[in-house]
Amino acid sequence: MIIAVASGKGGTGKTTVAVNLALVLEKVDFFDSDVEEPNAHLFLKPDIKITSEVAVPVPVIDAGNCTGCGKCAEVCAYHALAVIPHPGKKSQVLVFPHLCHACGACSLLCPAGAIREEARNIGVIEEGECGNIRFLHGKMNVGEVLSPTIIRRLKGKVRPDAVTIIDAPPGTSCPVVAAIRGVDFCVLVTEPTPFGLHDLTLAVDVVRQMKIPFGVVINRAGLGNDAAEDYCRAEKIPVLAKILFDREIAVRYSTGDTLADKSPEMAKIFTELYQNICQVKNEADRCS
C-alpha cells in the first residue's frame, strides 16, 4: 500500500505525521517528495548510500547542420528556442535551457537533424536507510522549476509490494498532483484555523477529483476552533487522528526530534492512525 501525506496549506504537520507513521510501521519505504524543500531527512537522519543526478534532455544546436529555418522555435511551446536573424547570413538559434520542458519536439521535428539532446542536471535523488526504513528523497537545485519531473523520477523507485509513505509538497498544483498520483490512500493534515480549513477544502477537491480514498488528521487540536472538525463531519470525511497542541511537541520538532519512538502515548496515536487508514481504505475498496 502506498500512503501519501498531503495538506494544501504548508506547515500543518505533513512531515511530522509522515515520519512518525513510518516509525511505528518500522519496515517501510519512505519517500520525501517535497523536492523544493525536503525536510524529512532532518528527523529520520538516514544514512545516505546512493546519490543519483536527475537530468533532463535539453537541445543543443549543431551550428554546422542548422539551416536556420526556425522550425524548432516554431514548435517549442515554452519559448525555449529563439531564432536570431543575421541579414545576408544564416540565422542563428539560441537555446534557453531554463525554459525547456524537455518535451523533445525540437529535436524530433528539426528537418535538418541538427538538434541533439544533452543532459542537464536539475536536482538529485538520494537513497539510504535508517534502521528498517528505506529512505529516499529528491532535492531540486535552487533556481530550477521542473519539480514534477524530479517527483516522477523519485516515484519511479517505489516498489510495488512495499508499504510506502510519500511525504507530499504543500499546495494544490502540479507538484502535488505528481506526488499523489497513483497512491492508494491520502492522509490530509490540517490545523484548526481558518487558513488550515480553507486549504483543506482545496486539498479535498484535489483528492476527490483524482478519486483517491482519503481521511484527515487534525494537528495542533485545541489551538484554534472546531471548524475543521465540523467541516469533516458535514462532508462525511473520516478524522483519522487528532494530535493535541502541545508546546513541548513544537520544541521537540524544532530540534529535529521524533515522537512515536520516544513516548508510548505518541506511538499509540500513530499506530491507531495506521489502523484507521487501513479501515477506511478497506471500506473504500468494498464500495468500489
Binding site: G8, K9, G10, G11, T12, T15, D34, E36, E37, N39, L42, V75, A77, Y78, H101, A102, C103, G104, A105, L108, L109, M140, V142, G143, E144, V145, S147, P148, R152, P169, P170, G171, T172, S173, C174, P175, V176, V177, R181, E191, T193, P194, F195, H198, D199, L202, D205, V206, Q209, M210, L223, G224, N225, R247, A250, V251, Y253, S254, T255, G256
Partner: protein, 286 residues
C-alpha cells in the same frame, strides 16, 4: 514605488499573518496574494471583488476518437506520460508541448486553450488587493503570479502608490521565482526549527541567485531561542539583515479566527514588534 515579497521556504511559518499585518500598517500600497494555489490572505482582508478575469495559459491536447487511427504514435512521443495506453489524454499530466498533435498522422489531435484559473482586483479595508485562484491540479502558476504582479504594478503606478506588498507561496519553485523577480526586498519569515533553518537557507540562495536583498524575521522565536540565534547567526554571515523577531502568542490564532490582522488583534507586544520590523525594512530599502 517599491515592491516587497514575504517568503519562507517552509510553509506555515507566518507569511500571510505578516503580510496581513503590513497591509494594516503600511500606507498607500497595493497588496498581492501570489500563493495562487492555496491563497489565504483574503481570509484576513475580506476583499470585495471589483474585477474578475479568466486566466488562460498553455494548451492541452485532445484526441478526436473518430479521427484517431489508433497507431499509438502519440503515446510513443509523449515524455510526460500524458497519453494513456487506451489513447486518452490525462489532462493533469499534459504539459501542452503539442508534439503529439504535430506527429499524429491522422491529424486527430488538437491543442485547446486551457482555462486554468481566475484572478481578481478587489477592494479591502486596507486598500486594493490583487489575487487569484488557480484551478485544482493546474500548472502555469508562475505565469498567473506574473500576471497578477503586473496588474498590481500598473495599479500602483497609476494611483501613485508607494508600495506593492506581496504574500508569496512556500517552496522555491516557479511561483516563488515569479513572486521574487524584480522586487526590492524579500522579507523572509521563518520559525526556529531545523526545517525552518534548512528551508530559509534555500530561499537565501535563491535571493542571491536573483540578486535581491533579504531581511529575516524569526516567528515564534521563543519556541527555541537557541535555534533562533543559530538562524540569525547564519543569516548575518550570509549577508541577510535581521529585521526582528515575533514571539509565540495565541493572540495570532485568535486574530486569524476573527478574520483580523494582528494589528487589529489583542496583543500590543506583537504590534510593537511589527512596527519595529517595518521601520527596519523601510530603512534598509530607501
Amino acid at each position: 514605488m517599491k515592491q516587497i515579497v514575504v517568503l519562507s521556504g517552509k510553509g506555515g511559518t507566518g507569511k500571510t499573518v505578516m503580510t496581513g499585518a503590513l497591509a494594516a500598517l503600511v500606507d498607500n500600497k497595493v497588496m498581492v496574494d501570489c500563493d495562487v494555489d492555496a491563497a489565504d490572505l483574503h481570509l484576513l482582508l475580506t476583499p470585495k471583488v471589483v474585477e474578475r478575469h479568466e486566466f488562460k495559459s498553455g494548451k492541452k491536447a485532445r484526441i478526436d476518437e473518430r479521427a484517431c487511427v489508433r497507431c499509438g504514435r502519440c503515446l510513443e512521443v509523449c515524455r510526460f506520460g500524458a497519453v494513456t495506453k487506451k489513447l486518452f489524454i490525462d489532462m493533469s499530466s499534459c504539459e501542452g508541448c503539442g508534439l503529439c498533435a504535430r506527429v499524429c498522422p491522422a491529424a486527430a489531435i488538437t491543442m485547446e486553450e486551457n482555462l486554468c484559473g481566475e484572478w481578481f482586483v478587489s477592494e479591502t479595508r486596507f486598500g486594493t488587493m490583487v489575487h487569484a485562484r488557480l484551478g485544482i491540479g493546474e500548472e502555469n502558476s508562475g505565469k498567473l503570479v506574473a500576471q497578477i504582479r503586473q496588474k498590481a504594478k500598473e495599479i500602483a503606478k497609476e494611483a501613485f502608490r508607494d508600495w506593492v506588498i506581496i504574500d508569496g507561496p512556500p517552496g522555491i519553485g516557479c511561483p516563488v521565482m515569479a513572486s521574487l523577480s524584480g522586487v526590492d526586498a524579500v522579507l523572509l519569515v521563518t520559525e526556529p526549527s531545523c526545517s525552518g533553518l534548512h528551508d530559509a537557507g534555500r530561499v537565501i540562495d535563491l535571493g542571491k541567485h536573483f540578486k535581491v536583498p533579504v531581511q529575516l524575521v524569526v516567528n515564534k522565536w521563543d519556541i527555541n531561542p537557541a535555534v533562533t540565534e543559530q538562524i540569525e547567526k547564519y543569516c548575518t554571515e550570509n549577508g541577510v539583515a535581521v529585521a526582528g523577531r515575533l514571539p509565540f502568542d495565541r493572540a495570532v490564532v485568535n486574530a486569524v479566527i476573527q478574520g483580523r490582522t494582528i494589528m487589529e488583534g489583542e496583543s500590543l507586544g506583537l504590534k510593537a514588534e511589527i512596527i519595529k520590523i517595518w521601520a527596519h525594512l523601510k530603512g534598509a530599502i530607501s
